[in-house]
Symmetry: none
Subunit: 405 residues, 2 copies
């Protein structure tokens, strides 16, 4: 476990169990940029969020550091209080957890592509013509049925979208210190898996053997004739929110990756339908069972990535529509923020700070009049690194002891 | 000396002596939370502070880090520019300095309780029924008269409140690497003092011998028959403001602990009566003799801890009443701030940022219109960690050279 995060260590040393409840509502990519003088939040009609802002402490949270555009991994680690420069979830692990799987100490995972490999072992098409997702699922089932294990190591193929899948190996003494079999270029032979550390040699042999077995099993297939693997990863080494803060946390999200990240930091995954209303219903139903709820609203980010300003405005309004239901639960601490900004004008994640507000009996009320980028810039929390949000939530929830005499 | 505080090292490397004078007025626990829509500062009539704010740079200072509620030790270290996560004053040292004593290189101190110990050495009551303070003073005088020294090591008992006292040992080769004699539970034998390091063995023998001598001397006493000791501490290892910045600093405070902390960082303790007016008079009288004055106003914190909103408002107004006298001294830099917030509604220290203002010929004037949490949130200094306040004071006082070519 990394120990160089002084803030996290300090929080953890001061944390105490209490009965208070925290709700962290993340509107993915909600921050934006102005079109015709108004950002998406400014253009949206958000009576509930605005009323909340008028009774909350507001500010702007910088996802990582100024100018840094984060992926969803670092952005979410920061939301949960982890320094995203100290803690890292490898892309491999993120993919595994993202398809709804987890890794035990005796498992490693990797990202895979179905591809076209010719009789000489040369990769002709790294994505097998962007395989159809249904064909991917059929091939994974076929491989699972035909292979099952290699040299006593369990093998599981989990289908993803198009040509992508996740490979999970289960067995004693496995190591993820392995090189990719993906040559990362076409018209080259697939790469031999080698161990970067002696402890990985057995696993490398298993992987190389698996590569050949898959070629055999897929002989005669029309669309994909082989696989390439990359980003081998073991279970992420990260302390959980339970370990750190005695929290009993849960995630209410509709997309696998967010459930995955949350699960890695120790949250129980709450099942629910994919509508926003169903998410809030799940929160209502489970409210007594946990003391930290991470509620993730995905759609704002998707509209931002699509570059659809008006759609994003509408989806912000949809999110606003159920905020009063969350308030009625009377959480001791209610935070609304984003993980990063996704301005419709940029069609992608950006580095811009997130509007942030914290509603609690101990929150100083400031002059922010709406939940927008501009009003939050006038808030009493100032501009702060997103990782500090966890400290603010714990403090307002009465879950931190005093530091020093 | 801890060396991992890059900011302190930088400041120190740039610091230069000059004739300018800095006054740091700390209104203890002044920040608060709203009652009927106004915080204590907002409810108070503070013409002097408000006038000052209109001609100053304002901001909010975070005592340690977001969400962290500091004790007085870390909060004051930050006020004086020390990173409170790097530097620490042990509780034992704080108590020693807090009763108005200091520690030399040849002294160690510890916290002690008068207690009831029976004939078998079993601690029956760790606080001797919360001994009366007068009886405590009598017992300390009695022990000092009867003991004086043990094995050539000087022994001094300094009375505190109720059952609490401070023990100071003076001699060559003393070490504070010792275990407590406090068993930390009742109905257990008092603990033997052991050295956690070979260099502490001699001192441990002295302490164990002292424990027995005290039992002998207190034989036949009705209220307290023994002592228990904890938190042995040597002189805190912390560079002084003189060492770091060539300052000649002084403290004008009425409570021992604040004089103690200030003395640890090298300030001369200015004697004065306990009224606010007397403190300002002392500042006026000594103004030519020092170049850094830390003036500590305690009462706002006490009213906050009592949960008395109106009293705190009144005491803020009392503090305001003498601010014009400080201004008439024309300090080159005048800072008014808190060490931490003590909202009357919480009856204790909190994590909320402190209002901060700096008046100086080089200060940028911002739009803050009063010395309140909300107006300071609009100030040009933003929200910053309190340890940076020292850099701002030194800079505005012309006591820092340029960094780099």
């Amino acid at each position: 476990m990394p120990s160089k995060s002084a803030y996290l260590n300090l929080l953890s040393s001061l944390a105490r169990k209490s009965s208070s409840r925290i709700v962290l509502l993340v509107l993915d990519g909600v921050g934006g940029l102005a079109k015709d003088g108004k950002t998406e939040l400014e253009a949206a009609r958000t009576p509930n969020l605005d009323s909340l802002a008028r009774g909350a402490s507001c500010g702007l949270s910088v996802p990582v550091l100024p100018g840094i555009t984060p992926g969803s991994g670092p952005a979410h680690l920061a939301l949960f209080g982890y320094d995203p420069l100290v803690f890292e979830i490898s892309r491999g692990a993120l993919e595994v957890y993202g398809v709804g799987k987890t890794l035990s100490d005796q498992q490693i995972g990797a990202r895979g592509n179905f591809c076209k490999i010719d009789g000489d072992g040369v990769v002709r098409d790294r994505r097998a013509g962007r395989l159809r997702t249904e064909e991917n699922a059929r091939l994974c089932a076929h491989l699972n049925e035909r292979i099952g294990e290699v040299d006593g190591v369990g093998v599981e193929f989990v289908p993803g979208k198009e040509h992508r899948f996740v490979l999970i190996l289960t067995g004693k003494g496995l190591s993820s210190k392995l090189s990719d079999t993906d040559p990362h270029e076409e018209m080259k032979h697939y790469a031999e898996c080698t161990a970067s550390d002696p402890e990985g040699e057995m696993t490398a042999r298993v992987v190389n053997s698996l590569m050949e077995t898959v070629l055999d099993v897929l002989t005669g297939e029309k669309e994909a004739t082989g696989i390439i693997l990359r980003g081998f990863s073991g279970r992420p080494e990260i302390p959980t929110l339970g370990d750190l803060y005695h929290l009993r946390p849960a995630v209410i999200a509709t997309y696998p990756m967010y459930k995955g990240i949350a699960n890695i930091v120790g949250m129980d995954i709450i099942g629910c339908e994919s509508t926003w209303g169903s998410q809030v219903t799940a929160l209502e139903e489970l409210f007594g069972r946990y003391d930290f709820f991470y509620v993730h609203y995905k759609l704002t980010d998707m509209a931002g990535e699509d570059g659809d300003f008006e759609k994003k405005v509408g989806l912000i309004e949809e999110a606003d529509g159920a905020v009063d239901r969350i308030l009625e639960l009377k959480p001791d601490v209610f935070v609304v923020t984003g993980d990063h900004s996704t301005p419709a004008s940029m069609k992608k994640h950006s580095w811009h700070p997130n509007p942030f507000m914290i509603k609690s009996i101990g929150a100083r009320i400031d002059s922010a009049d709406r939940f927008t980028e501009g009003e939050c810039a006038r808030g009493c929390l100032g501009v702060f690194e997103a990782k500090y949000g966890m400290g603010l939530m714990l403090a307002h929830a009465g879950k931190l002891d005093k530091f020093g005499a």
